[in-house]
Each structure stands twice: as C-alpha cells, then as structure tokens.
C-alpha cells in the first residue's frame, strides 16, 4: 500500500517540485493505485493577489487526501480549483494545469456543469437547501434529467444510506431539511453530493461547525466512502487529518511545503516548518 502511494506521489518534472516535495522520491511503481487529479505548476490569483504559488501534486484515486495549513494558506483555494468553483470569483485567474483522469479541466472544451457532477463538494458552512430532505437529495439527479419517481426514490435511499443518514430520516423524507440537527444536515449535504455519483468528493472543513459526535460519524463515513470515490478534505484539525487521511499536504502562504503519506508528515516530516506546524509550535 505504502509503496503504491509513493509511486503516485512521485514528483512531476517541474521546477516547483524541486523546492517543495522532492522528498518522497521513490522508484517503486505500482498499478493498483492510479492518479485521479494531477496539479501541475499551478499559480492562482485573486485579482492582483497571488494565492497559490507553483503548486504541483497528485491526488491518488480511492484514497483520502488531506490538506492542512494555517488560515489563508491556499488549501481551500486549491480545493475549489478542482471543481472550478473559483470561476465565480471576479478577477480570479489560474495558470498551470489541473487534470482529472489526465484531462485538463480548464480546457475550453470542458463543460463546467459536467465537471461539477463528477467532482462533488461538501462545504464548511452546512448548506442544505430550504426544501424537504427528499428534494435536497434529488436536486442533482433532477438537474440531469432524471424524472422517474421510482428511480429518484432509489437514489434517495442509496445516497442517504451512503451518508449514514437513512435510518434517522427515512420516516420524514418530506419534511424540511432545515429541521435536522447540524450533523445530520452535513450528512445530508454529503448524501446530496453522492446522489449524482461523483468520482471525487471535495470536503472543505466539513466538520468545523459540528460537535464531536457528529464529527466522529462523518469521519467514520469517510472510511467507507473511500471504496467508491476519491476524497480530498481540507481541515484545520490536525488530529482529524491524522485519523482519516492516507496522504497529507501541508500548505503555507500559498505554497505546498510538503506532501507525503500522512504517517510521514506527522511522525517524520522532512521540512522543519511542517514539523513546527504539526507539533503545534505555530499556526
């Protein structure tokens, strides 16, 4: 397993890599873990302000990848590049290449709505729509033109079960989603994202507004989700990153400082700044 991850993590041949993440060089290759998202030499600007500096990394398929770092370090920005949600920001600009399954997602031929059904997202601020639980889950499938009631019913049950919420809400599917507790609402958001069958699930600090029990439920969920899809999670909570992720990237001031197996990052980081951060000396 570890060898496989290392294989994926093998650096791309860009200048940026030289400084940041050449440390996990490995010559071993494995076929069972494929790269899902590759980021090559990416800069990102909000107007004049540069938010990402020459970032390059590879997210392996069917793994949980965590991005950690202090506030404003660019980890969320990178996450939102993966489904092009940054397109909404006025004056946002990106250079470099981000590929999903080897295809550039910023190519002119790419249909953004199509991309977003392949790359789902769960937000920091819990955001179920002010509709019924059922309506929330079928929102995505309906956009894709699914109309048959029986099909939608199936999707709802499957997605809610996937998000571990089915047992709690099956009797009140047609009540407002806003009547659920915070943790339930966040799991509903996960179910809503799962309903369109994404290949990648982006999670932007999904537990920061939740109590420990709800957090534990969602962390548990991530383990089971790994089998179906690739998870990229941004978190402020280093224990969480250590608990749930297979790989961890540490960001600072828009740069990817270190990217390696989670175990390595937390026990034997190669960069002193990473070590300072994970041991709580700053950040």
């Amino acid at each position: 397993m570890s060898a496989g991850i290392d294989a994926v993590l093998q650096p791309h041949h860009t200048a940026a890599q030289q400084t940041a993440n050449t440390t996990m060089a490995s010559t071993q290759r494995s076929q069972d873990i494929k790269p899902k998202i590759t980021v090559e030499n990416t800069d990102f600007f909000y107007g004049e302000k540069q938010a990402l500096f020459r970032v390059a990394l590879t997210v392996p398929a069917h793994q949980v990848t965590a991005f950690i770092g202090p506030s404003g370090c660019g980890k969320s920005t990178l996450l939102r590049c993966f489904n092009r949600l940054n397109d909404l920001v006025e004056g946002a600009r990106i250079t470099g290449r981000i590929c999903l399954d080897g295809k550039d997602i910023y190519a002119p031929s790419v249909d953004v709505t199509d991309l977003r059904t392949r790359v789902g997202m769960v937000f920091q601020k819990v955001n179920p729509f002010p509709k019924s639980i059922y309506q929330n889950v079928v929102y995505g499938p309906q956009l894709q033109g699914v109309r048959r009631r029986s099909v939608l019913d199936g999707i709802v049950e499957e997605s809610l079960q996937g998000a571990g919420l089915w047992e709690e809400v099956k009797d009140r599917l047609h009540q407002s989603a806003l009547g659920l507790s915070g943790g339930q609402q966040q799991r509903l958001c996960i179910a809503r994202a799962l309903a369109v069958n994404p290949e990648v699930l982006l999670m932007d600090e999904p537990c920061s507004a939740l109590d420990p029990i709800s957090t534990a439920k969602i962390e548990e969920l991530l383990h089971s989700l790994k089998a179906q899809l690739t998870v990229v999670i941004v978190t402020h909570n280093m224990q969480q990153a250590a608990r749930i992720s297979d790989l961890t990237g540490f960001f600072l001031m828009g740069e990817l400082i270190e990217y390696a197996e989670t175990k390595t990052i937390f026990t034997n980081p190669s960069d002193s700044r990473t070590e300072d951060y994970v041991t709580g000396r700053f950040g």
């Binding site: 179920p128 956009l143 009547g179």
Partner: protein
Amino acid sequence: MPDRIKKFLDSGALFIWFCGTAVAASLLMVGGVLLLIMINGLGFFWPHALVEMTLSDGTRVLGELKSEEVIPYSETPEFPKGKTRVRLKVGNRDLYGLDFRWVDTDRIASADSPKDAVAFERREWGNFYGRIREVSRGEDIVATGNQEGWQALQPLIGRANDLHEEIEHLQRDVIGDINYEIEGTRLRIRELELHGRSQTPEVTELQAATKQLESRYHKHVETLRALSRQLDEYSVVLVETNGSEKRLAVGQIVKALRPNDMSLIEKILRYFINFWSVLSEEPREANTEGGIFPAIFGTVMMVLIMSVAVVPFGVLAAFYLREYARQGLIVRVIRIAVNNLAGVPSIVFGVFGLGFFVYAVGGTIDNLFYPEALPTPTFGTGGILWASFTLALLTVPVVIVSTEEGLSAVPQEYREGSLALGATKFESMLRVILPSALPGILTGLILAVARATGEVAPLMLTGVVKLAPALPLDHHFPFLHFERKFMHLGFHIFDVGFQSPNVEAAKPMVYVTTLILVMVVIGLNLSAVALRNYMQKKFKASAV
C-alpha cells in the same frame, strides 16, 4: 450632582423613554385615525331614532338627532354665553331645501320619540321623515291614516323593489347585450367598409342582423315602459310633521322604517342589511347614496392587474441588478435612480401614464387594431389597464428594492451548493435562489399593494371616472375589458366628499367609503402576508 445627571444620561434610561414615546405617539396616531373612521363610518348603518320636537313658536321638527354643541360666539345679549344648540337631520330636501337644521336648545318646548314616525329612504331627494296620510292606486284610495297606510305600504314596497330589480336586469343584461351586439355588427360593417368591401353579401347580412337586433331592442324597451308604468301604479301621500303633504309613487321608495318602533334585534339585523346593501349595490343620487360595489370592484381589480404587471417586471430587474450585472458605478447609479423613482410625486406618473400609455401606446393600438371604431378611442383613452400600468410603474421601485434585499439575504452557500451539484447559474436561480428570495419579493408586493390601493391622483388622469356604466369584467368575450374606465374607492371619497352638491348629507358616505377603502387595503395586504407566511413555512421549518 452633575455626576449623577451624567450617569443617568449615560445609562440610556432617558433614551428608552424617548423611543417608547415615539412608538406610543405613532400608535396613537394610527389608532386615532382608525377610531375616527370606524366611529363615523360604522354608525352610518345603524337605524337612528327619530326625535319629534315642538318649538316655542309652535312649529315642529322631526328628524335624527346628530349632535349638540355650545353656540360659538354666544356672548351677545340675545345669545348669552353657554347656550347650546342641536343639529338634526330633517331630510325632506324637496320641501325644506336643506337636509340639516340647527335648533337652539332654548327654543325646544318639548321633545319625544313617537313610535309611529316613519323614515323613508327614497330614490331621489334623500330621506323623508314624516307620516303616511293615504295610499292610493290611481284615483282609488287603498288605505288612509298612518297605521293603515303603513301596513298597506309594506307589500307594495317589496313589490316595487322587485320591479326595480327586474327593470335593472332588463336594462343592464338583456338590453345591454343587444346594444353590445349592435355595436359589434356596426364595427364589423365599418371594418368591411374600411377594407373597401361595403358591397359584399356579408354587409347585407350584417345590416339585416342589425335590423333584427333593433326590433328586439324596441320590443324590450316596450316591456321596460310597461314595467315603469307599474311602478307608478300605486302612490302614497306623505305628510311631514308640520302638515305639508308630498305625493310620490311607491316605486320611489327604497325602504320605509319605523326606527322608534324597532327592537334592538331588529335594529341589529337592519344594521347588517344596510351594511350589505352598501357593499353590494350600485350608487344612486350622484354617488351620495346607494352602494359602492363598482368602486370596490374597480379598486380590487386594478390592484390585481397592477400586481400581475409589477411583480415579474420588478423581480426580473432586481435579478439582473443583483445576479448578473457587474457591480460597479453604473449599477450603483441605476440603484440610486430606482430609489429616487420611489420619491417622484404620483401625479407625475399620472402625467406620464396619460402621455405614454394612453396617447402613445393606446393611440397606436387603436390605429392598428381598432380602426373601425375611430374616432371613438378604444385603448386611446383612460382605462383600467393603463391605470394599472401607471401604478405598476409607480410601485416598481419598491418591488425592485425588496427583491434585491431578498436576493442579498440568500446565503452565498446556497448558490455555491447548487453550482457544485452541476447546476447552471440559471438553474440555481430558478430552483434555489428564487424560492429563497420569495419572502422578500412578496414583501415588495405587500408594500406595492399598500401604496397602489391608496393612490388617487395618477388614476384621475388614466382612467378613473365618477360613474362607470359597466364593470371591467362581465360575461361578454373576452370577459376582461381592459380598455374600460372604472370606479375607485379613493376617487369615490374625493368625488362624494368634495364634488357633490350636498356635502353635509354625503359626509356619512365619505366615512363609509373611507372605512371600506381601509378594509380593502387591509384585506389585500393580509392576503399578501398570508401568502408570504405560507411560502416561508413551506421553505423553513422550526428550529430543532
């Protein structure tokens, strides 16, 4: 000591008092207005007692006691200070010339409320207060004396009212329909003439049809005359309290009451009957009597048309400004302009509506689609559509501002959440943002309705009339007649209160109309509020 004062001022206790006083003053003013309208308006329907007074010079006065006051400027020798006088509604305008009379309290020798005094409501000349001398059919006397006459009169009045109803039905529905058809064929013939086809068989056919319609018309006019004669069949001689006589046809009497002989329950019942007849009947006597149904109908219909016009218009504009337009100088200027539009005097909108909607748009429509009716304008004159559109323009800033506020209150997370699920911006707006902004939009509608219902000035230029011959909604295709002129409660108040020949007699009607206008505003607002609350409930659940 100054220290304590400073401490007191800093504590804010005084400020709370100021705030409380401001709220109390506002409530008091609103409450006072409502109370004044209610007292004056609701009293109108009550069957008031009749007072008969014998004055010191032997003459007598019979009427409703309206008010009592200290005589102003009563410091001259012949009017010493502190004297009072009473005001009576004595009716009998055809005999006395005036409906009201002041009587100095000093001059009243005796007063009582005779059970046999009758108050007649007449179709012309206002009320008559007095007694019945005789009831006759042509030359034959059917009943004599007050008591006998009263009993003989009851069925006759009922029958006369039935006849009136029949006449009205005949005039408005039957003959109205025929007129409508005659006008239709006339326009069709004119249209064919304009196309140079005045010699075709169709024209001949139409002319024949017109002849037929005209003969039907004349037949019905005959029936109408016969019915009118029946109304004049019975007549009654009334006598006022001093003995002057007045003969009139029973058909002239709407109702006769003996208010002093009525029990409380009868009075309450009569109260509601009167209330209903004002709501449901058409006006009489230059609007000062009868009901105000056409005005209520016109007001409500105009507000509904206005709502239908203003909401999509304002909502689309707000969506563009908030969701699509690049937020910059131009959008800011537009926003300021929209806000200022709300402050433009309404008469300015009236002038614009007249110039743009009525003359420019309406005139063009007439030239293009109704050339056969010219020179009589169809849309090129004031009408309910143009009045509604003018008010829609007047209220569109309110809807834009509220919708924008509603849109900005929709959390950014909803937009992102929707887009992240593969929705386009349009889909997100339609399925998530619009429903969430709906309460804001409906708040705008509520404000717009409140503003529009009370507007009168622009309507006077764009389609309101004192008396509309037909409602803008009837059974003739296409049912809604947007080009028709209409009546409006606000204008009705102005017209009855300030343009009628007998202002004092019309005063109760002014208050009643005001009361009903306020009720219509409240009713329309409450239904909009109910709609908003329903929507809110639909989209939000109570917190857990």
